[in-house]
Structures are given as structure tokens and as C-alpha cells.
């Protein structure tokens, strides 16, 4: 029986007067990969930024509705707590340039002033880097700056940084759109491996990627959720005509 870890209820989001997300109702299954796809401007990025409460930091941004994480409304929790439970990886790799690889991985702890012993720190760094397949590649120069790595490695470092905090949910905002095909494939395989330990929400404008990687897919269009279901079904027998048109490339 698949557990539902996140329930989104009547979510509406605004940038000033612009009604960007219209009455979104959705549930996310635990330890599965849910892809959110749709043409540019459909609201998919705004959607995940509402889930880790990053959206409200933009000036003139407004959010209405409820999002329940394991039954608790995240809008009634302190945003800092929410963001420690729901991690995010961004479109362009953005390791902290003033920190070494080691420090980047435990940045979430260091910057929050969470005290750890030397052993605990080493353990977290090693495990996180192993989870993303970087450990062997960087173990001999953990104290070099993160910005010397290739694009794909930097992105994996950012994933390690997010994963080190042991979040319940990992939000990925078009994580491979800035990378070459081989780096993209490695990260896709990594995402599939990661779902064993963390629920994943993946925003992508690449339909093929959504198909390859995800268990469930949500199709957004003009701020509304048009269809949601298992990827295998949606890609072979979509229920909604708009979904069919998007998949067959008639628009977007």
C-alpha cells in the first residue's frame, strides 16, 4: 500500500495580481518519484517553491491554501523548519564558492549552527557523497573548493548537500537542464536510486526525462493541474486531450 506523504489542498499562488497557480489539489506518494511537467509558464516551478515555502520570499508573492506534510500544515510551521525537512536542488549547480567540498556537504548543519562532533561530520560527508556517487571521485581532495568540479559533479555535490540534511522530500527544479547528456543520464540514474530513501518531486520541461525516471506524473497547464497519474499509464493512454496534445508535441 503506497503511503501519501504530502497533501496539497486548494493551493493558489500569486505574483502581485497575477494568479499563477489555480486551485491545485494533489497528493504525493512516499518514496516515489513524481514528475511535474508542462510548457513554460505553466506554474510548475512556482508550485514546488510553494512546497518549501520559497515562493513567499519573492516580493509581491502571495500564497493561499494548505499543504500537509504527514498531516501537519507546513504553513503553520516555521519556514526554517519546513525547509530543513524539504530540501531543494536548483536548475544551475550552485555550490557555495567560498567553501570546500567538505564544507559544502555539511553546509546545512554549519550554517544553522548545529553542533556535530568530528566523527559525525566525517560520517555525514562520506555517506552523502557516496549516495550521489561522488565519494570516489573527490575523496582525495575534499578540502578543495567546490567550484573546480565539472557541471555534473557540481550538481551532484548540490544534491549531496541537500541529502545530507536527511529531508523527507527532495525537490528538484529542472536539475539537468544545464548539463550535457552524459551528466544528465548519471543524475537520472542517481535520482532513481535516491527514491529508496527520500520522496522526490521533479520539475522538468523535458517530457522524455519525466517518462524515463518518474513513477507518477502531474501535467500542469496555465496554472492548473490537468492530469495526474502513473507515468506508464499517462504516457500510453492519457485521459485528458490536452495531456495527449502536449505529449505528442502539438504545443509547448
Amino acid at each position: 500500500m503506497e503511503n501519501k506523504i504530502l497533501r496539497i489542498e486548494n493551493l493558489n499562488a500569486y505574483y502581485g495580481d497575477n494568479h499563477v497557480l489555480k486551485n491545485i489539489n494533489m497528493e504525493i506518494y512516499e518514496k516515489k518519484i513524481t514528475a511535474v511537467m508542462g510548457p513554460s509558464g505553466c506554474g510548475k516551478t512556482t508550485f514546488i517553491r510553494c512546497i518549501n515555502r520559497l515562493h513567499e520570499l519573492t516580493p509581491n508573492a502571495k500564497v493561499e491554501g494548505k499543504i500537509f506534510l504527514r498531516g501537519k500544515n507546513i504553513y503553520e510551521m516555521h519556514p526554517v523548519v519546513v525547509r530543513q525537512k524539504i530540501g531543494m536542488v536548483f536548475q544551475r549547480p550552485n555550490p557555495f564558492p567560498t567553501m570546500s567540498i567538505y564544507d559544502n556537504v555539511i553546509a546545512g548543519y554549519k550554517l544553522n549552527g548545529i553542533k556535530l562532533t568530528r566523527e559525525e561530520r566525517d560520517k555525514i560527508v562520506k555517506e552523502s557523497l557516496e549516495k550521489v556517487g561522488l565519494w570516489d571521485e573527490v575523496k582525495n581532495f575534499l578540502f578543495k573548493r567546490g567550484t573546480f568540479l565539472s557541471g555534473g559533479q557540481q550538481q551532484r555535490l548540490c544534491i549531496a548537500r541537500a541529502v545530507a540534511m536527511n529531508p523527507e522530500i527532495l525537490l528538484l527544479d529542472e536539475p539537468t537542464s544545464a548539463l550535457d547528456p552524459i551528466a544528465t543520464r548519471r543524475i537520472e540514474e542517481l535520482i532513481v536510486k535516491l527514491k529508496e530513501t527520500v520522496t522526490i518531486l521533479l520539475v522538468t520541461h523535458n517530457i522524455a526525462q519525466a517518462g524515463r525516471v518518474s513513477d507518477y506524473t502531474a501535467f500542469f497547464y496555465m496554472g492548473e493541474i490537468i492530469e495526474f497519474g502513473t507515468t506508464e499509464k499517462m504516457f500510453t493512454v492519457p485521459e485528458n486531450k490536452k495531456t495527449e496534445e502536449y505529449l505528442t508535441g502539438k504545443f509547448g
Binding site: 525547509r83 536548483f90 550552485n94 567560498t98 544553522n112 567550484t147
Partner: protein
């Protein structure tokens, strides 16, 4: 064919004119440096750095008190006004469009174009009269206020160049705003901000007018910031307008030290600045 040759000739003339004019522009700088070095180098000796001025008319002595004084006054300016300037710069960078930030920006620019002598007079009225005495503290504050616009502007520009990505990465880890600024944004801009501070210091190190009205000068070594203190620009001013050739020599020496100091700070500041720029 004739037209073409004419054009090529014009090109050459134009080119040489530009080179000549540029040389003429740089020439004064080199002449000044040359002059200062030529006249000042003879005054430089161990005594010059480490002894106090001799009473009027006597030969010898040094400007140890001025060197120490300049260091203290510039130190006060830095300690008091740099944190203020950096945080103002942070505020302006974080709030680009608000009414308050626009007002602050305009006022900062006005502050920058205020003549240094006006600064001196204001310093006299606000600080010297209130405290009842000339003091190094007043001098430091006056100089600091002159340095403030540079710090604010450099900090704001440096922080504006930091990609929004980096702050969002920090927020996404659950790091609150104040820690993000202190531990992520400022360290990222560290080189650029330091470069701005060094340039600011080099700018005020040689300011004389404000000090005339605030710090005033002192024949003796004084470490009490609530009392008048000597400084290198003051020494240059006083000695060069005196009738003693020995003092003129020392004025050249002081000028020499000052110019070297400002030059070094300037070069360091720019070096740090370019190293920082390649970071992202």
C-alpha cells in the same frame, strides 16, 4: 588611390596624437613621483621613523608621533565607520527598489561630493566644540564619514553581483536570513568588500583639511584619543609652511612616505578586486 593614401596618413596622425596626449596626461604623475622621491629620500633614516620632533630651530628629529597618529586616526575611522558602511551596503543591495533605499543612495552620493574642508568644519562644530577639545577621535570620525560613501557603494556593487542562486541555496537548507547574509553572502563578497575598504583607506589617509579642524596636531607622542594628535598630512602642512629648511626636508620625507603608503594600498586594493571578480 590618392584618397586611400590620404586616409592612411590621417590614421597615423590620429594614432600618434592619441599616444602623445596620453603621455602628456601621465607625465605630471611621473614628474610628481620623481620630485617627491628625489627630495624626500634624503630625509629618510632610522631617526625619521622613530624619533620625535625636536624643538623649533634644532636640527634632526623625526615624525614618529605623526606616523603613530595617522595609524590611530585611520584606525578609528575604519573601526567605527566600516561596519556601518558595510551594513548600509548590505541593506541597499537587499532592498533595491524601496523608497528608503533610494533616499539613502542619493544621500550617500551627496556625502561623497562634500568638500573635505566642509567636513572639517562640521567635525569642529559637532565634535570639537561638544567635547571641548581637539581630539584624535574627532579626526577619526570626520575622516570616517568621508570614507563612508566609498565603502557603501563598493559593498552594494559587490553584493549586487552575487547571484540570487546562492542565497536561495542557503534558504533552501533552512538557513535564516541573518545567517545567510553573515555566513554566505558576505564571505562570498569578502575580497571585493576588502578591496573597497583598502581603497577607502588610501583615499582618506592623505586628507588634511578635516584634520586641521579636528585633530589639530601635536608635537609630542600622544596615545590618548581624546586629546589632539599628530598625523602625517598635518606634519606636511605645518612643516612646509615653516621657515626652516630642515623642516622642509622632513616635509618632503613625510610626503614620500605618504605617497608610498597610498600607492601600496591602492595596488593591493585593485589586486584583491580583480582576484575576486573571477570567482563566479
Amino acid at each position: 588611390m590618392k584618397k586611400l593614401r590620404g586616409r592612411i596618413f590621417l590614421d597615423r596622425v590620429f594614432f600618434f596624437t592619441i599616444v602623445a596626449l596620453s603621455t602628456i596626461t601621465i607625465a605630471p604623475l611621473f614628474l610628481i613621483l620623481f620630485h617627491i622621491i628625489k627630495n624626500g629620500i634624503s630625509a629618510i633614516n632610522w631617526d625619521f621613523f622613530f624619533s620625535l620632533p625636536k624643538p623649533t630651530g634644532e636640527e634632526g628629529g623625526g615624525i614618529a608621533n605623526a606616523i603613530v597618529g595617522s595609524a590611530i586616526i585611520v584606525g578609528i575611522a575604519t573601526l567605527l565607520l566600516v561596519p556601518l558602511g558595510v551594513f548600509t551596503g548590505v541593506y541597499l543591495s537587499e532592498n533595491r527598489e524601496t523608497k528608503l533605499s533610494n533616499v539613502v543612495r542619493t544621500l550617500t552620493e551627496i556625502l561623497q561630493s562634500t568638500p573635505s574642508i566642509v567636513m572639517g568644519i562640521i567635525g569642529y562644530i559637532w565634535l570639537v566644540r561638544t567635547m571641548g577639545t581637539f581630539s584624535a577621535l574627532a579626526g577619526g570620525i570626520a575622516l570616517g564619514i568621508m570614507m563612508l560613501p566609498i565603502i557603501v557603494r563598493t559593498t552594494e556593487e559587490v553584493l549586487n553581483l552575487i547571484p540570487e542562486d546562492m542565497k536561495e541555496a542557503s534558504y533552501a537548507l533552512g538557513v535564516p536570513y541573518h545567517r545567510t547574509i553573515l555566513k554566505v553572502v558576505l564571505p562570498a563578497g569578502f575580497n571585493g568588500i576588502t578591496s573597497g575598504i583598502l581603497l577607502g583607506i588610501s583615499r582618506i589617509a592623505g586628507e588634511t583639511a578635516p584634520l586641521l579642524f579636528t585633530s589639530f596636531g601635536n608635537q609630542f607622542m600622544n596615545l590618548n584619543i581624546l586629546k589632539p594628535m599628530s598625523a602625517i598630512p598635518l606634519v606636511i602642512f605645518v612643516y612646509s609652511s615653516s621657515p626652516y629648511p630642515d623642516w622642509w626636508r622632513m616635509a618632503w620625507g613625510a610626503s614620500f612616505i605618504l605617497v608610498i603608503f597610498v600607492l601600496i594600498l591602492n595596488i593591493l586594493g585593485r589586486l584583491l578586486g580583480t582576484r575576486w571578480k573571477t570567482r563566479f
